[in-house]
Amino acid sequence: MGISPVLWQFLVHWLHNSALFPAEASTIAPWMDALYFFLLGMTLTGLFLVGVLVFGFSIRYRKEKNPVATQIEGSTLLEATWTIIPLAIFLLTFVWGALLYFRIYDPPPNAMNIYIVGKQWMWKAEHPGGQHEINSLHVPAGRPIQLTMISQDVFHSFSIPDFRVKREVIPGRYTTVWFNATDPGTYHIFCTQYCGTQHSGMIGEVTVLSAPDYQKWLAQSTSGMSLAQNGERLFASMGCNACHSGNAAARGPNLAGVYGTKLTLTDGSQVQVNDAFLRDAILNPSQHVTAGFAPIMPTYQGQVSEDGLIDLVEYIKNLNTNYRVQQTLMTSESNQAAPPTPAGGTTETVKP
């Protein structure tokens, strides 16, 4: 053979390292693939049908065989057939796709929450325990993980193809996606929404660890302060506790245990207190005034970074009593006074 062994080795190596199908590394992946193969089957069937018709007729009725054409007006029956059958298949696809969509975008209530901040051109992951990562994400296998994501500048899109999940990361708004990784390993993270010059450099790796490895990793990479503790410090340094003190005479509403409840606003509307509401209420307070309170809160637009907002949200989320808020008010050196959080760094919402 004329192929040089070096070239041959190169070719083999090259082909060996190429892929034709993504790994199925999350619980959702098989479901996505099932729909994919169904649709693939539909496409191939359609193509086959059209191919058979075109080639069949072309051979059967080519001019040599059939010199004179027979004029046919049409057929209502046939028209109805190829209107109704494709419509039925497409509607089936619609239902199937919709079910999958809500499976992917409706996180289970016990999911462990990790925050993602996208900015040109990197991903920052913030674990509740205070572990920060850039362009990488460590998650435990076999446990639903919810990502709460926001962008600091332009549209990004957080995509993990091997998990078959993706969601746009939007400036000014939290979006969420969830997955349950099955196999330990590393997988690609891509930014799939064009976001400027280094768009193709906005990539990272998600590392799926087994539960014990994950605990080890958590312990190794902690920065000492959990998100909630950071939030507490921010809360104090910006003077939030002056109004949101939880006292009966306080000028701001009591924040302890507010997360997850339904609030009535001054305009009479009822809202669910979630991450997005808390963030908005900090930035645009006048649109989120709790009934019975005066609209006196200033806006913090431009004063807190998205990371800071995440800290605050995480803090308020986990605020069960006002004891510490009031403690902080009395002791000026709040951060020293903060006792360490419970071991493991996980918060109440993420208990499996």
Partner: protein, 555 residues
């Protein structure tokens, strides 16, 4: 007449081009630049569109060469971003949107309805000048240093984060948009008001029907793009914040306005192509199009439903889940008329008397590729599947299957089919068949691997990519090379045929359309006397009788 072909050319030793026709009716460059004749304007368009097609194609080539290796080593990332932006802007706004309507449509719509010209010849000329102005501005943006917004101008990236020539490109698109509005407006008025006596709606060729539907989209959709672009420009200049979340705006509003045009825009691009396919398939199978009314109404249905589905471009971008549901459902509905068309074309072949000239080969190519392109669109319209596939190479491949595999094939089918009418001369048959086959092979080699890449998750608009995607990218680049050759060939031999092609005569294909009953190339006013239409479209028995009558009269 041979058994393999329906081509019947006049005796080449005696045949001559008609002494007077629209090409030589007036002389001099000014007579072209100031013409009101729809056929001359069509030729002006054809030349300028071809020019921009090859510029856009050159960028496609550069993109593919950059993607030959996983690193961004041919060009830096910012240059690559400018490449794909230029490729997108030029191909979408300066090639695909005007491709068939402004060239073939411009040439044929008045003739097909039996009119002397479009209703507003000067507006038609104006629309060409606007197109050229838009083209020049695009080139200016390119020469001055390029734009890197992507053709979608996503806010707030395009408004606050890029320092390239966004405004120049935006102005170019704004102006080119008006060019397209005027073409559409002219077509609608012509089709409504200028039909010859007896040319009822259901005697019109399907080519006219599909152009009518596309024109509606042009007239109604394009202004919304215009306002979206104006708002982007204002936001960029004054920084007021309609699309800036920091100031209370909603970046998604831009997406809504942009896709309100840009989704119907893909129907603007494909519908005229479908019109071409109807004509070609009917002619080369000597048969009336199966289910004429169904095909006609499916064009209108596509135009109508086309306006209700735009948010399927934003399923993962933060639209509410409820509206995602509604738009996904409507998207499924819009897929049906396309399926109807495909099956009707296939059944047109049944019991026909089929020959395989070049336009027919392109039409077959269209049917195959459009079937794939259309059905992969269902993947993307299906909510859950869209999550994984959108913004990857899958969507790139889908779009190119519809637009390049569909529209460009149809465009080439049309150009070959009506070339004898436009120029009076035939193109070389065997070379053109070679080109058709080359294009088909090159196309599949280029874009089929991209489906696989897309499912593996390779994101679009990446200058560099992980090495495991390289094999498929190399295949794709190889295919692009073949495709490039396939597109260069027609440029060469069609140019050649202008001087050396066989004289075509009035009706080389023995087709029934009104345009084939007049001389080639036609007179400036198309008809010597106003035609009275007393037959249906695609009535081959009528044609046979007419030919027989002529022979008897002459004999």
């Amino acid at each position: 007449m041979s058994a393999h072909t329906i081509v019947s050319l006049p005796d080449q030793s005696t045949a001559k081009l008609p002494k007077v026709n629209y090409i030589n009716a007036e002389q001099g460059i000014l007579s072209w630049l100031l013409t009101g004749d729809h056929k001359r304007i069509a030729m002006l368009y054809l030349i300028s569109i071809t020019f921009f097609f090859f510029i856009g194609g050159a960028f496609a080539g550069l993109i593919r060469f950059e993607l030959l290796t996983p690193q961004s080593d041919l060009v830096a990332a910012d240059t690559y971003n400018k490449f794909f932006t230029m490729h997108g802007i030029i191909m979408v706004f300066l090639f695909l949107v005007p491709s068939v309507p402004a060239t073939i449509g411009n040439f044929l719509i008045p003739i097909m309805v039996g009119a002397k010209d479009l209703a507003f010849p000067k507006i038609n000329l104006l629309s060409w000048y606007l197109y050229v102005a838009g083209g020049i501005l695009t080139l200016a943006a390119l020469v001055l240093g390029g734009v890197d917004t992507g053709w979608t101008f996503t806010t707030p990236l395009s408004t606050h984060y890029l320092n390239t020539h966004v405004l120049t490109a935006a102005t170019a698109i704004f102006i080119a948009g008006f060019s397209s509005i005027f073409t559409g407006l002219n077509f609608i008025v012509t089709i409504h008001r200028m039909r010859a006596p007896g040319m009822t709606w259901f005697r019109m060729p399907l080519f006219v029907w599909s152009h009518y539907a596309a024109s509606l989209l042009m007239v109604l959709g394009t202004p919304v793009l215009a306002i979206a672009i104006v708002l982007v420009a204002l936001e960029r200049i004054f920084g007021i914040g309609v699309f800036d979340p920091a100031k209370g705006g909603d970046p998604l509003l831009f997406q809504h306005l942009f896709w309100f045009y840009s989704h119907p825009a893909v129907y603007i691009m494909i519908l005229p192509g479908m019109g071409v396919i109807s004509e070609v398939i009917s002619t080369f199978s000597r048969k009336r199009v199966f289910g004429y009314t169904a095909v006609a109404f499916s064009s209108v249905a596509i135009a109508l439903f086309g306006f209700f589905v735009w948010a399927h471009h934003m399923f993962i971008m933060g639209v509410s889940n409820y509206s995602a549901l509604v738009f996904s459902l409507l998207t499924m509905l819009v897929a049906v008329p396309s399926a109807i068309k495909i099956f009707n074309w296939a059944f047109t072949l049944q019991k026909g008397s089929i020959t395989f000239e070049t336009p027919m080969l392109y039409a077959f190519g269209f049917m195959g590729l459009f079937t794939i392109g259309g059905l992969t669109g269902v993947f993307l319209g299906s909510l859950g599947m869209d999550i994984h596939l959108t913004e990857t190479y899958f969507i790139v491949a889908h779009f190119h299957f519809v637009m390049v595999g569909g529209m460009l094939m149809a465009f080439l089918a049309g150009v070959h089919f009506w070339w004898p009418k436009m120029t009076g001369r035939m193109y070389p048959e065997s070379l053109s068949k070679l080109a058709a086959v080359t294009t088909f092979i090159g196309f599949n080699l280029t874009f089929l691997p991209q489906f696989i890449l897309g499912y593996m998750g390779m994101p679009r608009r990446y200058a560099a990519y992980p090495p495991e995607y390289q094999v498929l990218n190399v295949l794709s680049t190889a295919g692009a090379t073949v495709l490039g050759v396939g597109y260069m060939l027609p440029l060469l031999y069609l140019g050649w045929s202008l001087k050396y092609g066989a004289i075509a005569g009035n009706n080389p294909w023995q087709a029934t359309g009104l345009e084939w009953q007049i001389q080639s190339p036609p007179l400036t006013e198309n008809f010597t006397e106003t035609p009275i239409i007393d037959y249906e479209a695609y009535d081959y028995e009528w044609l046979e009788k007419k030919t027989k009558d002529e022979v008897t009269t002459v004999g």
